[in-house]
């Protein structure tokens, strides 16, 4: 039986929260702005009205304390989902996340558990600048005991959110701001097995593109155009960050002749792509037949000025160029780039977006 509907990524999150609130009477949804009229970019809309102000609530500006309070509530049997509108704010709560949430089950010998979801949003927007658009996923993905998921597709957003909430461990759920606008299918009866490991977003024969979050969308754009030019790209989405599915990448590489491009939405020095590549080399030394490449952001904070957004953020064009270089087909670059070009500035995900967030 299938129950497939098309919706936006943001709507999928909302629907997952809705379904989970209905399913788990002990679930709480809490965060700055959760019940306000802007409803965290629409993702919490109507939930307070439906489930009551005791379960769907705002909170004081106290990220570390409130994280600890949610951990305490989780220990007592609640199932809190704590939302930060930007991952930058979660930096205030690293103490509670790393010292407590991630370790609690372990350090008390399995006697206690912390079913806690932390929703954080990364990514660009209108000149969010150095303190409001960091890409800190790798920092959190290296903490033993903390699960970190970063879904790309609309279907994954729905199902991984449900999974995260049902999980009896702390899960950091990372949404790229620009994914909220993307539309796709949600099949509520999708088998759970499809949610583990990396996700194969597109089959291809010439090269493996292992991508993260919004860069998977860019990778798909590039792949579509490259296909028209006779280049077949396989896109693997690395949605589980604390357990990178290198086996999946290796088996793709076996098909594509060991040619690998990694595309991440983070500065190079903060890219979890390094961990992916290293683990691949350690576990599947012969999987690479050619020099791999990593596309990431420059190694400095994000400047606010929209004039440099296009150059700061790599996208489908940079991915396509790199693919063609790896495949030694740079003669195609010019025409592929021409096909890819859009006149939408890179500080807007689509025409409907007019800031100021």
């Amino acid at each position: 039986m299938r129950d497939v509907r098309v919706m936006s990524y943001g709507e999928a999150i909302r629907e997952a929260l809705d379904d989970a609130l209905a399913k788990h009477p002990e679930m709480l949804l809490i965060g700055e702005g959760v019940p306000d009229p802007k409803t965290i970019f629409g993702t919490t809309q109507g939930l307070r009205e439906k489930y009551g102000a005791e379960r769907v609530l705002d909170m004081p500006l106290a990220e570390n304390g409130m994280t600890g309070i949610c951990i305490g509530a989780a220990l007592a049997g609640m199932r809190p989902v704590l939302v930060h509108q930007r991952i930058d704010f979660a930096l205030l709560s690293v103490d509670q996340l790393v010292n407590n949430a991630a370790k609690w089950h372990y350090m008390f010998d399995g006697q206690q558990q912390v079913p806690l979801v932390i929703r954080v949003i990364i990514g660009r927007g209108w000149g969010q600048g150095p303190q409001h658009s960091q890409s800190l996923q790798a920092m959190f993905a290296q903490v033993p005991g903390l699960k970190v998921v970063m879904p790309t597709t609309v279907g994954d957003a729905y199902h991984l959110m449900l999974e995260a909430i049902a999980d009896n461990n702390p899960v950091l759920f990372i949404e790229h701001r620009w994914l909220h606008h993307v539309h796709g299918e949600v099949d509520k009866h999708r088998p759970a097995a499809e949610l583990s490991g990396a996700a194969l977003l597109r089959q291809g024969a010439d090269i493996t593109l292992a991508a993260f979050s919004h860069m998977s969308i860019e990778a798909l754009k590039a792949a579509t155009v490259l296909d028209k030019h006779g280049v077949s790209v396989e896109v693997v989405d690395m949605r589980h960050l604390n357990e990178l599915d290198v086996d999946r990448v290796a088996s793709s590489l076996a098909k594509t002749g060991g040619k690998l491009l990694i595309a991440d939405c983070a500065p190079e020095m903060a890219s979890i792509g390094h961990q992916l590549l290293s683990k691949l080399v350690l576990a599947h030394r012969n999987s690479l037949q050619q020099a791999p490449r990593l596309i990431a952001y420059p190694n400095h904070p994000v400047p606010t000025s929209h004039f440099v957004a296009n150059d700061y953020y790599p996208g489908a064009e940079q991915i396509a160029s790199a693919v063609l270089e790896i495949l030694d087909k740079s003669e195609l670059t010019e025409s592929v780039i021409r096909d890819l070009q859009s006149d939408l500035p890179k500080d807007q995900p689509d025409r409907s977006f007019v800031g100021p967030f």
Partner: protein, 342 residues
Amino acid sequence: MTAMSQAPADLKHLYYQMLRIRRAEEAIARRYAEQQMRCPTHLCIGEEAIAIGVCAHLTTQDKVFSNHRGHGHYLAKGGDLPRLLAELYGFAEGCCGGRGGSMHLTDLAAGFIASTPIVGGTVPLAAGYAWAEQMKKSVTAQGGASAAGGRTPGATNVVVIFFGDGCFEEGVMHETMNFAVLKKLPLLFICENNQYSVMTPLAERQPKRDIYKIAAAHGLTAVSGDGNRVDDVYELAQAAVANARNGLGPQFLELHTHRWPEHCGPNEDDDLGYRNPGELAEWKLRCPLLQTRQVLLAERLSNDAELAHMETKLAEEIEQAFARALQGSRPTIERMGQHLYA
């Protein structure tokens, strides 16, 4: 204009300064719709009296730190208007070279050190700056340096931190107050209590009790006042600045006020219904400009013609500031790669 007036309260001057912030903010709001200032922008319309009433007592040697809602503090402290606007547009000539936008302002020459948008982020920085000022003074005092600007010998520069009621919920606030009292820092905490954090009312975030009384319990000299009366703010700040300057330790003012526009962006948003019905309208009646204008006219300290002249003068200044800002140049990504390290 200078924000460094040491003269006794000249209400007309204070009015002019407030009006300047108001008109600049309105102009920003108007032009924001052109989608060329592409960064989150938090306007302070309705809250001008606090920045002006406090900064009136500061010299350029005194320092100010601020938060996401920093335009008014920046201008009140003497920050350069064209460079603020250029920053909003993302030009290389902006006060942060286009790196920060509205939420990151600086004008070192004016003594406006910085505003940044992580709520609470600048609070301990201000204390650290005040601590350094205090230590430096003790060094120059030994060297026999003279006290500046008609101040008592031994007086120090002061540092001011502006922040909101929401910020008061952050733990770092309390860590900072504790240290400030411990070291008797020449530091002023100015809490702009506008009752909202984004769209969340105070009652969903804090219990019913006074913010300034917590500061008082920490050991600060703390009072509250009407943040929409520039004369009140001026008076409270006068005492507080003098105390801080003269070694009486950190001071805390909780000033009640209200923001008129939406939390972030150029528009009003009363239609969203998160404010109590009639709340905004009532606060508009308590507009700091309106109230001051009434006094100025009632007490014949000014007249319609003079007030109209102020408007013209400011309209010109702001017009020119935009013109100047708009001549800015686009920063390149290469330039943006510089200054990662000092």
